[in-house]
Subunit: 500 residues, 2 copies
């Protein structure tokens, strides 16, 4: 029974591991040193890569050197450079040496942490960092493991929402009967990220029972509790079952902040699950001076935030805390013979697979722990404040030019602005600003995206990639000025069709 020659292939080749890794590190170092030179938004045409590459996988192997060369020539042109200091689109996906090294270690150990025994350190470190974070953000004790609540790391806010909505749903179905699933109602605002609606649909709540409550400039696009109350009352009169209310703190569109306290009292009165979605802004609460936006958080049932946006953790690292894990476990906990073990049966341990959709899970806590340890709360505060300062700086530049308008308050590090040279109609301002934004983006020198607030088209300048400095913000402003001059010189911009 001698071994077949199969072993001639060694996928975990330790002999070459360090030298190969060094080549990759060199490639990455070079990328970071040059990333500011690339067009920020990729300028390729649809199908560019399909045209370059063969239709079947190669039978023979290729060297790492050749592959790195191809990444440079073929892949890099198709990358929109989220790590460019001139990336101001969406929200930044911030990175750090600590998170990068955390990912390396996570990948090297490559444990599958579905339950405690699969690697006790993974579960216990996650519990530790979730409590650390909760305290760092000044969340109420009731969200911490120490306070009989708890938190978990997932890949996305969407996954967290699916789990929480399923938990809320199953608790309601137990009370009202399973037929009542078509009567459950979810409430959010017109600024709420669409993933909340998608998650509600995923868990089987009819899309027609998803209430999109309108907001307006008068409240800076925050929900008015009274509007929610009226919607709830109407649904109750129609025999429906109000289930879940999502408050957003730092909405994607304009960083608007729903009043958590007012919504919390309402949720309590009517027995709704209140979730606070702070995907982007959550990281800011490391700074005491920004925590007023979370006022009333003690009334919430759960909160989620994506540290992979603003807290230097690379993708992905999404946090969710809730006060009553038992409601989640009642809905999601399931197992099988082949996973049974004495630690789980003893009920002395947490098995995080019961807190999420999937069974398998990466050791994300290691990365987060590295970020917290290597930088300390001190530097994380500095990091957030530095980005808020950059946003204030850009806001001041915009305000210094009378042709421009900052449309909503700059709560965190997002500036929503527009060019408004004269008394134009909203429709023509929409076209003008689209054209300005496109002129900036197609120059390759910066990338910004837009939002539509009510009927106001705004350009979003989201500050804070890990390499953006004041000089990049100044360059962006010069670029905007330059493109504005060109556009306003053109006669017929307001006769254009809006392209999307």
């Amino acid at each position: 029974m001698g071994r077949l020659p199969a072993l001639s292939f060694d996928p975990l080749n330790i002999k070459d591991f360090a030298s190969e890794s060094n080549k990759v590190i060199e490639f990455i170092t070079n990328y970071y040193k040059t990333v500011h030179k690339y067009p920020v938004r990729s300028q390729v045409e649809p199908g560019y890569l399909q045209d370059l590459y063969p239709k079947t996988a190669p039978f023979q192997p290729t060297s790492l050197e050749t592959i790195l060369q191809e990444i440079q020539t073929d892949i890099i042109p198709g990358i929109t450079h989220w790590q460019s200091p001139n990336f101001f689109a969406y929200f930044p996906a911030t990175i750090s040496n600590a998170a990068f090294h955390g990912e390396m270690l996570c990948n090297a150990l490559n444990i599958v942490g579905f339950n405690w025994i699969c690697s006790p350190a993974a579960t216990e470190l996650e519990m530790i960092v979730m409590d650390w974070l909760g305290k760092m953000f000044n969340l109420p004790q009731s969200f911490l493991f120490e306070g009989k609540g708890g938190g978990v790391l997932q890949g996305s806010t969407s996954e967290a929402l699916v789990c929480l909505l399923a938990a809320a749903r199953d608790r309601a179905l137990k009370q009202y009967g399973e037929e009542s699933i078509t009567k459950l109602v979810v409430y959010a605002s017109d600024q709420t990220h669409f993933v909340v609606k998608k998650a509600a649909k995923l868990v089987g709540i009819p899309p027609k029972n998803f209430r999109v409550i309108p907001t307006s400039l008068a409240t800076c696009f925050a929900l008015k509790p009274n509007d929610v109350k009226m919607a709830i009352e109407r649904d109750l009169e129609s025999g429906l079952v109000p289930l879940f209310l999502c408050a957003t703190v730092g909405a994607t569109s304009s960083s608007s902040v729903d009043p958590v306290e007012g919504l919390g009292l309402l949720a309590q009165k009517y027995g709704l699950w209140l979730h606070v979605e702070a995907a982007y802004a959550g990281s800011a609460f490391v700074c005491p001076e920004l925590r007023h936006y979370l006022k009333g958080i003690e009334h919430a049932d759960s909160i989620s935030m994506n540290l992979h946006k603003w807290l230097l953790t690379n993708l992905d690292c999404s946090c969710m805390w809730l006060k009553k894990p038992s409601v989640l476990l009642d809905s999601l906990s399931m197992t099988a013979d082949y996973m049974r073990n004495e630690a789980s049966e003893s009920k002395q341990v947490v098995d995080f697979m019961d807190w999420q959709i999937a069974s398998g899970r990466r050791f994300r806590a290691l990365k987060l722990w590295l970020v917290l340890r290597r930088y300390g709360v001190k530097n994380l505060m500095t990091h957030i404040r530095s980005d808020v300062d950059l946003a204030k700086h850009f806001e001041a530049l915009v305000k210094s030019d009378k042709r421009f308008e900052v449309v909503v308050p700059v709560n965190f590090s997002l500036v929503c602005f527009r060019l408004k040279p004269n008394e134009e109609t909203e429709e023509s301002l929409k076209i003008l600003n689209w054209k300005l934004m496109e002129a900036v983006n197609s120059s390759g020198r910066a990338y910004m995206t837009h939002a539509v607030l009510g009927d106001i088209f705004v350009i979003r300048c989201a500050l804070g990639t890990s390499s953006t400095e004041e000089k990049h913000v100044n360059e962006l402003w010069n670029l905007i000025q330059e493109k504005t001059r060109h556009i306003l010189k053109e006669k017929c911009w307001n006769e254009l069709q809006f392209p999307i």
Copy 2:
């Protein structure tokens, strides 16, 4: 408007990036060189890490050196070493230099690929590798983008199932009305992984409508199409709506294989969505000699597999293909102003956020592309065959000892066996084998897990970590022999209580 001193903190510190990364590479190299020496299953007690660590995050930063030292002293003892050559539990989570470097590059670029414009290369490379893989596994053309189907990379089979079940559900609700959600029925076997049941529950299908069809040793725990047919007929008679049938190819419990062809014909007849779940075994289909297990795959609507199990891609890399992406998009597609862009509106591009739960997504295709390019189909075939050979070798060792029994055929690289010295009852054999397995596991020299097939308790020996060689299999067998001698010498083993 001078910059505040905030910039004194630089999270993306390029100056130190290479030297720090080298320290991490050195740590990892040392880990791989010594991993065979650690107890495979962690031997810590619940709470060990909570007792070591402070209750709040540090305010001041800590050096990388100190952190790596703490990982060695505090974290490593709490790791169950999935990368040990002596890990035979669950299924292996195989790794490779190529995937490791792919993850490094993915983390360095750190793009968020929700739609095409966010990084065209990410979307296009994913489409390319999904078609490459589909052809490599000999899937029908109809599952490929080339054939109007398509594939997508996700984090887990669970996520894929949630999406597919939601798509099947929404198509049915459109036909039968939204009230019919409580009438939808999902079929699977008692060997099906519990994540299918969990996914069905997540999308709002009542747990009482999840049919667990019993299997038995007579079919080696494969589903009998006729049993499914009878269940469907019964449900139709009760006015229910048969929706979704899950066939498993390579079940977690025993690697049993459901007859895809027979189930496919049945699904067609009754209009059910047929999904083939091949999380573990899918990777094997790179080898033509193993593809007979997929016979009838052309009748399926979708198929999923976790390449992070057996195809050297590190966690996570889960694949899903389906024939009619439009059904998925009808259910999952949703967007908002702030994501609108000309490429998406043109309908010329794929936006993968519409193929999954979350919006954000990592550039996993890069990792998979590196694995395919660096090794080529040739080495991937060698890799699978080498593990199948190891399993055959272990099977032969077990069969050479008359006190042992191999309980089901070794289809891939999993051997389900048990010690059966005499004519004992199933209950006492259960205790005996549990004791044997625990003796092996608590020795720290190897780690295996169990399954219960019908009423037969088996020890699962899952071969194939990236470093397991024939000598490790021989050592495992010697260890089993040694522990068997001890246990059989003890008088009262059959008076013990089964611990879980």
